[in-house]
């Protein structure tokens, strides 16, 4: 009976070790995930980081404006006289600074100092925000609420499917013939982009290639497009590219197939997919529409779901 106890103990230790082993992996991941800087000086690397920064900047601007309400009221009273300056795309901070300068005599020295400092900071923030919006046009519609630098009623048409929209990870890669492909250019050029993840030795994936090619032709007429991402070809593996091309040719698939680095955002995204084939529908601003479709579209159920998402995206794009 003593033996039984020893075994039970050994078993328990094994269990704990098993859990601990898995636990460390998670911690590693979390450590990697955190550490995103938030200061003004940080250069965002991805659209998501840009979005975070964008929101933070606007928060800061809001905070400044709500800090000394009475004083700001005074400034705003003055602006009414100047009028119509916000309309043209001038920096809001500069505009405020101008107003403050014009009405200089109305404030005490202390008030004037503070206002000058604040308006300059707002001006800096506005510059940074404008720069971000230019670089990552997609963040415009994502940070909608409470955003004062937004033109009203611009882009509320895309219906959020279930809560928030998820961005398709940005990438800069190449197609199998070596031409550069950038995700933002690709997505913004299409009303809808269907992204199919596959790999060369996956039978159901290869089975749907000709159907996907037909879908690509159909989409091209509607201003959409389809690309394939073969997980074997990531990082530009030459043999994998040759094999993928061979299979695509045999199946008569002529649409663009893209690869990028496996350690980038889109690379990580690809590696985290563990059911193949998986197909995503992406709208013009790079948002993933609906849930990914798992399984080949040669199946009726999958084909119908995909068509529904495509139609929905095209309709939203026209609205």
């Amino acid at each position: 009976m003593n033996m039984k106890r020893i075994f039970a103990l050994a078993f328990a230790v094994l269990m704990v070790l098993a859990l601990a082993a898995c636990g460390t992996r998670d911690n590693d991941k979390m450590a990697n995930g955190s550490g995103n800087g938030s200061a003004m000086t940080d250069e965002p690397k991805t659209a998501e980081e840009a979005l975070t920064l964008h929101t933070e900047l606007l928060e800061r601007e809001k905070a400044i404006l709500s800090e000394n309400t009475e004083l700001w009221e005074k400034v705003f009273m003055e602006t009414d006289k100047g009028m119509a300056m916000i309309e043209d795309e001038k920096n809001y901070g500069d505009f405020l600074l101008g107003t403050v300068e014009d009405a200089k005599e109305q404030f005490t020295d202390k008030e004037y100092e503070w206002l000058k400092e604040s308006t300059t900071e707002i001006s800096d923030i506005e510059n940074k925000v404008a720069e971000l919006e230019e670089k990552y046009p997609e963040i415009m519609q994502k940070s909608m609420d409470g955003d004062m630098s937004m033109p009203a009623g611009s882009d509320t048409s895309t219906p959020p499917d279930d809560g928030s929209m998820q961005k398709f990870p940005a990438f800069e890669g190449k197609d199998l013939d070596g031409n550069t492909v950038k995700s933002d250019e690709l997505f913004s050029g299409n009303a809808v982009t269907v992204v199919n993840f596959w790999f060369t030795t996956c039978n159901p994936c290869v089975g749907e290639l000709s159907d996907l090619d037909a879908l690509n032709r159909e989409l091209a007429e509607k201003g959409g497009g389809l690309i394939g991402i073969n997980s074997f070809t990531l990082d530009g593996n030459e043999t994998a590219i040759a094999e993928a091309k061979d299979v695509l040719a045999k199946k008569g698939a002529t649409y663009q197939n893209v690869y990028f680095d496996s350690d980038g955002e889109a690379g990580m995204f690809t590696m985290s997919i563990n059911a193949y084939p998986t197909t995503y529908v992406v709208d013009r601003s790079g948002n993933i529409v609906g849930d990914p479709i798992v399984g080949a579209i040669t199946e009726k159920k999958q084909a119908e779901t995909l068509q529904k998402l495509i139609d929905q995206t095209i309709a939203a794009d026209m609205a």
Binding site: M3, K4, F7, A8, A10, F11, L14, M15, A18, L19, A21, C22, G23, D26, T201, N203, V206, G207, E243, V247, K250, K251, M271, S272, N274, A275, T278, D291, P292, I293, V294, G295, E299, K301, Q302, T305
Partner: protein
């Protein structure tokens, strides 16, 4: 070489349940993945585990040898799975169907089900069905995936796709519970395989290890090596009193004294514990244990 361990044999077979539990856990180490609904995709997955354990189990630490064999033999790049066959032959020679009795998670699953107290039925009269698993191995694991190929030269993993209940139990069910995309992808094939799993579950309650006896291609492969495996059953003819208790205790329907290393023997050791004179034991090493002492005496007499 050829050392025998009657005491060890007794202990091993007594604590077999714990060894099976430990092996199942080691085969499926990444337990948190059950909640995430994803798979572990690290380096461990390039190696096969000894038992029948689905690659697509979220927790799986390695690949299934049967699944891997079909994937390679069915791919357009390779004509035969040399590495996996070699690995299986090695395991067959080192351990044989000891893997079924001690290390296979699906074997353990069936045994646990068999502990549910109901009327138990004998499988002695269903002996011809035991040859079915060789057909499954040859046809579904080798011939169909290798030769029934599409225009690009790819075959389907027929056993995994159409028959394997372990794939549904460990892969489809937990993944579809945690992952909406996979849930949406379930179709007729899932219904078919789910009914196979249900049948195996019901049969396991009534019979002892029905899947191992009749269908398992991995068991069939290891069975071919039972006679030559280094892990052997040994009956000491000097101690044996021919009481027949071992044959009655054997749930795999083996007549232990006549054919101790029968293809159906999974080395569970029930006969070892049933033997009143400790004549039956495990044995590890070359030769069949009977000739070994004779040989040495001959060599000594030279």
């Amino acid at each position: 070489m050829g050392k025998k361990f009657s005491g060890v044999s007794q202990t091993m077979s007594r604590f077999r349940g714990w060894i099976q539990a430990g092996a199942t856990l080691l085969t499926n180490l990444h337990l948190p993945n059950f909640l995430k609904g994803g798979l572990y995709q690290g380096a461990g997955k390039t190696v096969c585990v000894p038992g029948l354990n689905c690659y697509s189990c979220p927790a799986a630490s390695g690949a299934c040898p049967i699944g891997a064999f079909q994937a390679v033999v069915g791919s357009s790049k390779f004509s035969f799975s040399y590495y996996i066959t070699g690995f299986l032959i090695l395991l067959g020679v080192l351990l044989g169907r000891f893997i079924c009795g001690f290390l296979c998670p699906f074997g353990w699953f069936q045994e646990l089900l068999h502990k549910i107290p109901t009327k138990k039925l004998s499988t002695k009269k269903l002996k011809p069905l035991t040859y079915l698993k060789y057909a499954v191995l040859l046809v579904m694991v080798f011939l169909l995936p290798a030769f029934l190929v599409n225009d690009v030269g790819m075959g389907d993993p027929f056993f995994c796709k159409y028959l394997c209940p372990q794939g549904v139990l460990e892969g489809a069910i937990p993944l579809s519970l945690a992952n909406a995309g996979i849930r949406a992808a379930l179709g007729k094939l899932f219904t078919w395989k789910f009914s196979i799993l249900l049948s195996v579950i019901v049969l396991s309650v009534l019979f002892y290890r029905p899947f191992c006896k009749w269908l398992c291609p991995l068991g069939a492969f290891y069975a071919l090596f039972n006679k030559v495996s280094l892990f052997q059953m040994k009956v000491d003819e000097n101690k044996c009193i021919s009481c027949g208790k071992c044959a009655r205790a054997c749930k795999m329907d083996v007549d232990v004294t006549k054919t101790p290393n029968h293809t159906e023997c999974i080395r569970c050791g029930m006969c070892i514990r049933a033997c009143p004179t400790n004549a039956v034991s495990f044995r590890y090493g070359f030769g069949n244990g009977k000739e070994a002492p004779k040989k040495t005496t001959m060599e000594e007499s030279k």
